[in-house]
Symmetry: C2
Subunit: 468 residues, 2 copies
């Protein structure tokens, strides 16, 4: 670490005085992300906010020379501590790299600065009568961040996660070079897939400053269905029969009603069905209302054959928005009591078994584990709660939560490994899950990752302490 | 290079006496691939045919110890020299690793040995009432090879190339370790995307021995349309209006009639339309005949508005097969006269301009360049012919072809770079295109590739001499 005053002055020379922060109160928001624990929060030495790829490259060159670690940061909406800085390091915030977003209708793509938010992206894409299917959750997330984490979301069943939509990236390397990877191309077999290596690398191999994404034609209509079941097991078991109709819905979620109660209380709104203990939430897209309604009715019939107590089809935008709001606010509602948020992904065929295991664990260890999941893609979120839950309210604290949760963690991950799954479906590894990476992927695979890290960032200045 | 007899004996100990070839006449087929030039053909010291991943790993460990370079090989259907061995090296042929292919209907996936052919894959998938969209051409190609080259094909417009369908790989590393990358999972944000790095790495970073691919529900029906136009320019210009109908066809090809004449002669069959100088070939998939026919008619009307002289819709399987056979045999028909096969990919919006440039070049340099292309995904194949073409027949040789072709190559690639394109859309770089990689991607990107190669295969024993 060089002289701090000297470092700050040099950063100011690059990005301007107003764009280098160093007083503790303004640094604080940059010491954490949105994960449930504050255990890893760390104050950086400074935050610098470049406004161009060239400035990012200059900052990286400076830090490489001075040996100062850099943690790149988008909106800080991550859930694995991926953008938490290290002591003696700086945060390189992409928030001001947010001026350019350009739709290319002929190539059905959009090119945008890494600091453009998902919300801005959806708006511009909608205005262009086009469509970006993934919806990884919090719309304040920035594009660089969602690519760096290979974010997923509920809408990955039919169209895939973010990585399936990345066509090109501009990246600053650990030695401050600017690389354009991929391009506005639909095909390439031209050399190693460096772009795909950068996706999901959580800022440890390069800093993403610009993103080109594939778009699709905007679907004529989107429809949302909710079907309640007597048990969560029945809900999950009816996913496969739906897929066997040769229909791939846009999204298929399962939600236990005990979980949704917390959100009903928070928002003072009601989940549209009352019967049963769990719902399937299915979203369909298609060319027009008649066709999608026909599909929805076909699915409804199949769900009833498999125990659905009711079928609700929401066609109006407002009704759909309300249902999705309730679904999307689950983490928000639970968060004050969440000790750990799991993000496992198992083969689709293993979801039922894993959820059953979670329920047994809940009973056996005595920690509430409200669980929701992307039922058709195998990605589940169990929330280990520090408080007893009763009718959507948090009651007294769970005794010895920390010990119980480390037991939970071991058991949940062991079950996931047995089923051929991974510890992160969409949140990333960051700091929070890194101790489990070898257990999940094996030492040889992690050694290969470390060899790549060593080759591309020999001095370890890009987002140190993450992943492994 | 160790003592040859000693090496052969050790290989025989691993894979059995019958599975180690070393006499020149049996080695010859392993000295080349299907590319047009024989300039790079090289005889290996031996060919070994392991029958399991474990045997592959043993062979790699042996060769690593003895310093013997290994060139992995599938069916040898590549078009860039990617599986051509080096002198003093061996070929590791995956042809006997072809016993297991297993459909998993619940997870809509298939797991197969790397030596299973595309033909076998399509058959098993069809029997399972499922669907593997990519069709990279020659059906004798093996799965390991199509993944190693990130093969594409005509059917990539709607569903993407092979890389979009790979869920998991078993790979043997340069030090003979066996890694399972990915999994039967639809989502993962668990560490670097090593699997994506292996895809398209042409056997230089690891040897793929098993592949897990995503499948889709089998479409209810597939329909093929052909629309002739007065000029190829008009044909290409009407692709965008079709996409603007919010319809993404399964495949969109443009074919000049002067090119198809060669195939008509070879097969003694006729292209279904006679008028015009170029056709668009469009393939549609959908849930049932009525809906797809409705879509086809909508497209037909749009094409007529943009100058189509006729619209032919083929619904019967046999008629469709005949049209596709004519299309797919183009390389076969031209091959005896092809000096170089180009495989460039440009942004979709640049195809028209590039084809126009190809025609100007043809005139100016005096080399016939019959060109076909995947019109909606920007991937074009120009065939530099060593003979003058007249009504589909090859006539007298082009004088000074070699000099003219090196001029062509420079000009074609320069035009592609100007348009933001790449030198390979789907065939790979192999040996044949490696001298252009830096000009295409820049030295910094290629240096990054070399650093990765060095990190994962420090002794350079996996497929040396390829890519860079």
């Amino acid at each position: 670490m060089p002289n701090k005053t000297h470092l700050l002055r040099q950063l100011e020379n690059i990005s301007g005085k107003d764009n280098v922060l160093s007083s503790p109160e303004v640094l604080k928001p940059y010491s954490h992300d949105e994960s449930a624990t504050d255990e890893f929060n760390t104050m950086p030495v400074a935050v610098v906010k470049p406004e161009s790829t060239e400035q990012v490259a200059e900052i990286v060159r400076l830090c490489a020379e001075e040996g100062v670690p850099i943690t790149p940061r988008g909106a800080g909406t991550g859930l694995a501590g991926g953008c938490i800085p290290v002591e003696e390091g700086i945060v390189l915030s992409l928030e001001r790299l947010n001026r350019r977003i350009h739709i290319d209708p002929e190539n059905m793509s959009v090119t945008a600065d890494a600091g453009i938010s998902l919300k801005q992206l959806y708006q511009v894409v909608e205005e262009g009568d086009l469509f970006f299917p993934p919806h990884p959750g919090d719309e304040s997330a920035m594009l660089g961040g969602i690519v760096a984490a290979n974010a997923g979301g509920a809408r990955a069943v039919k169209y895939g996660t973010v990585k399936h939509f990345v066509r090109g990236l501009k990246v600053v390397t650990a030695d401050g070079k600017i690389l354009s990877l991929g391009g506005n191309l639909m095909k390439s077999s031209t050399g190693y897939h460096l772009m795909d290596l950068m996706i999901g690398s959580e800022g440890t191999l390069g800093i993403i400053t610009e993103v080109t994404l594939s778009l699709l034609p905007k679907p004529g209509t989107i429809m949302t269905m909710v079907a309640p079941f007597k048990t969560v097991d029945e809900a999950i078991s009816s996913v496969l029969p739906v897929l066997n109709l040769k229909i791939i819905p846009f999204a298929v979620e399962f939600i236990e009603h005990s979980t949704i109660r917390c959100v009903e209380r928070l928002l003072n709104k009601n989940w549209p069905v009352k019967s049963g203990t769990a719902s399937l939430l299915i979203i369909l897209d298609g060319p027009d209302e008649d066709r999608v309604l026909e599909t929805a009715e076909k699915i409804g019939k199949e769900l009833e054959n498999h125990g659905a107590l009711d079928i609700l089809i929401a066609e109006q935008r407002e009704k759909q928005a309300e249902i999705l709001e309730l679904r999307s606010m689950i983490y928000e509602a639970l968060r004050p009591g969440v000790g750990e948020l799991y993000d496992v992904c198992v083969p689709r065929s293993e979801i039922g078994g894993h959820v059953q295991f979670i329920h047994e664990l809940e009973e056996r260890i005595g920690v509430p584990l409200p669980t929701i999941g992307h039922a058709a893609d195998g990605n589940l979120h169990s929330h280990a709660m520090k408080y007893r839950l009763e009718d959507g309210e948090m009651k007294e604290p769970i005794k010895d939560f920390a010990e119980k949760n480390s037991l939970l963690e071991r058991e949940i991950f062991a079950d996931v490994f047995k089923r051929g799954g991974v510890i992160s479906g969409e949140h990333g590894i960051g700091i929070i899950k890194k101790n489990h990476l070898i257990a999940n992927l094996g030492k040889d695979a992690v050694d290969m990752m470390k060899a790549i890290k060593q080759a591309l960032d020999p001095n370890g200045i890009l987002n140190p302490g993450k992943l492994f």
